[in-house]
Amino acid sequence: MVDVLVIGSGGAGLVAAIAAKESGASVTLVGKSFPTRSQTSMAQGGINAAMGNVEEDSVEAHISDTLKSSQGLSSEASVRTMCEEASAAILWLDSIGVPFSRTQAGKISQRRLGGASGIRACYAQDYTGLKILHTLYDQSLKMGIETLNEHFLLNYIIEGEKDARYSCGATFLNIRTGEVVEIRAKSVIVATGGYGSLFHGFTTNSTASTGDGAAAALRAGAKLSDMEFVQFHPTALKSSALLISESARGAGGYLLNAQKERFTDELSSRDIVARAIADEIEKSGEVYLDIRHLGETFIDHELPQERKLAIAYEGLDPVIDLIPIKPVAHYTMGGVDVDETSMSCIAGLFAAGEAANQKVHGANRLGGNSLLELLVFGRQAGKNAALYAKTAPVFTAQSEQIIKDREYIQTLREAAVTMDFYEKRASLGKNFYGSAGIKRNEKRLEELLKSVQQLQEELPLMGAQDKSLVYNTNLVEFLEFTNMIELSQCLLLGAISRKESRGAHYREDAPARNDEAYGGHTLCWKEGGELHVELGEKTNEKGKG
């Protein structure tokens, strides 16, 4: 039995696995794809640390910006830990070979992202995530971390009685063979990323961001929190929903309306800019990003990827053309609810990265803070899981879970399919963008909830049409779809209960923030097959703003 099982091999999973291994634990890292194919590769803008390499900056300013953006919904202690550890985390990345861009003085270069009072984001051209992810992967090879690819998480194996439940592994579908297997472990770290793909067709996210780890946590009886908080990125390419990094605006890019006039402060936090753009699109029909005045040399040097994507997907060259944009779902603040040690309410079940809610982003994540989060808390989760494994209860008997999961997969293989889930997935995405997106109201949310509940009931009619065992991506996508159906209900129930506006959650029918009633986190869990939602205690007095 392995000490630490890390599920998800993106940035968070790799960092956690490396930290657990360094702490002396035996580690198995499992992913549904390959480490370097994770969404972390897509991060362009940068990673925050108040290093002050370009302009004076301070940890306190980083903390205060993060708290301000979180709109009272973060834990100040966690934010403090993250910001204080930031410079050390960057230096660690430097020590393992991440090729950060440099200043003329030879220091790690930094640039400004939205919502930051200082020039704070370290970057590696506009391949920050790619280069961090690949360097972490190379280190995992160096350390000989056992990695199992093409294994899809089905469920965690949880044993123990009601209030003393503990995790002891997980079950997986081996995508290459179609077999259902189990991996036993003393502790488990969930690092499966976010659930942005719920907004299918209206998200910058990788198609793999289907919230599988969080959905499995919900089924296992763990709590999820703040699921209604989904950040919309102001600037995605209009037709393909691909991201144009915030650094384009940070460097002085303009937002223009159909009349080619500026209409908002481009550097406000994402929720404000996204809403301003949505309003403007409603009003004038079109919003453009204009970076022409930055010049070809600058664009090729600092934003080469953006230029390539705009040319390939929109047929437009940002050096000479205005780029039509729209705001789309980008980052999911909610996730597996964890305490200050990164553990969920189930003993030995940890979570890190976008899959977790470590309460550092609150109602609105700052650009450059999520790569930082996965480093700092991925590391913490890895260390703590290794520590926990030393005294963890060991369960060796046959588990019920694998039997159930084998039966379930077998049922899916045999079931006749009369309804097409791909069609439902597309309309779900569209409806979420329309009714649970940038602007929400109770009536539309309620209607959407009804339609999702209906989908839930119809699931047995859907299933996978492809019945093969080997590399059945139709089956995998169906499993992802069922996870999204589960999480979408948590999102909607949260959004309905929270009758106020805060950060990324904007209610047209309750546009003001209401700390009296809604100052706490939204908790969501499953009991006896029923979803429960509760607004918890207010955690942070100082985060107002």
Partner: protein, 252 residues
């Protein structure tokens, strides 16, 4: 628009066949076409993708014999889509990626020992910036002719990765890195250049291999083919030597 896809499934009879699809869409990427086929025509079509934007390296295939990223390739009428070469096909367009990735570990493609907190000038970083743009898509691996004769060749992307770390101003243990690529590595490349034009990131593995050879020479390593008495048996290249079993003149 009509396209053909080479399909394969070990569970079907016959296991390999070519399928034709007619699409009503124009001016789309190959990935958009694959998604349209999977979601509207045949859900059993297997392929992999993730980012849609050329950074996750999941979607490389061959189009009319040339390696392309499905998410970056604009489709034309009559295109023939096949899986990457040099790798066993698992199903349809999905290959055994595991098999090629193992070469990263064999080539010890990582930072061995970095000096702490070292200043690096922008020019120093830019000189090997391109090598760390690699997305491990496998296009170069698929195009490399050496695999036809030597399955153990470390290959283009793994060697590019090694050059990335060797040429990094922070690396303290260059010798360890250079040693790791002597056998089945830099000397087994025929410098044919086929890996260069197919790289979606504009990387030139051949050039990086040449750089590693230069560095190896400076550090006192030698091309084993020359070291072994100039037998002219370059890996994969035409064998100009005498028939096997016969001694070359002058070696007795």
């Amino acid at each position: 628009m009509k396209i053909s896809i080479k399909r394969y499934s070990s569970e079907n009879e016959p296991s390999a066949q070519s399928a034709e699809y007619r699409l009503e869409l124009e001016n789309i990427t190959l990935l958009e076409a694959l998604n349209a086929i999977k979601t509207k025509i045949d859900p059993s079509l297997s392929f992999t993708a993730g980012c849609r934007s050329g950074v996750c390296g999941s979607c490389a295939v061959r189009v009319n014999g040339t390696e392309e990223l499905a998410c970056g390739y604009k489709l034309s009428d009559g295109d023939l889509i096949e899986p990457l070469g040099n790798l066993p096909v698992l199903r349809d367009l999905v290959v055994d990626t595991q098999k090629m990735l193992k070469f990263n570990a064999l080539a010890r493609a990582w930072s061995s020992s970095n000096s702490e907190n070292q200043l690096l000038l922008p020019e120093q970083v830019e000189s090997n910036e391109l090598q760390s743009d690699c997305i491990l898509c496998g296009a170069c691996y698929s195009a490399c002719p050496v695999y036809a004769v030597n399955e153990e060749f470390l290959g283009p992307f793994a060697l590019t990765r090694v050059w990335r770390y060797v040429s990094d101003g922070r690396e303290q243990d260059v010798r360890e890195k250079i040693e790791a690529v002597q056998s089945q590595g830099i000397w087994d490349c025929t410098l044919c250049n086929l890996c260069v034009p197919v790289c979606p990131q504009g990387i030139a593995p051949k050039q990086d291999i040449s750089m590693l050879r230069g560095k190896s020479g400076v550090m006192g390593f030698m091309d084993p083919n020359f070291a072994a008495g100039m037998s002219f048996s370059f890996g994969g290249g035409p064998d100009f030597g005498s028939p096997s079993g016969l001694k070359s003149p002058g070696t007795s």
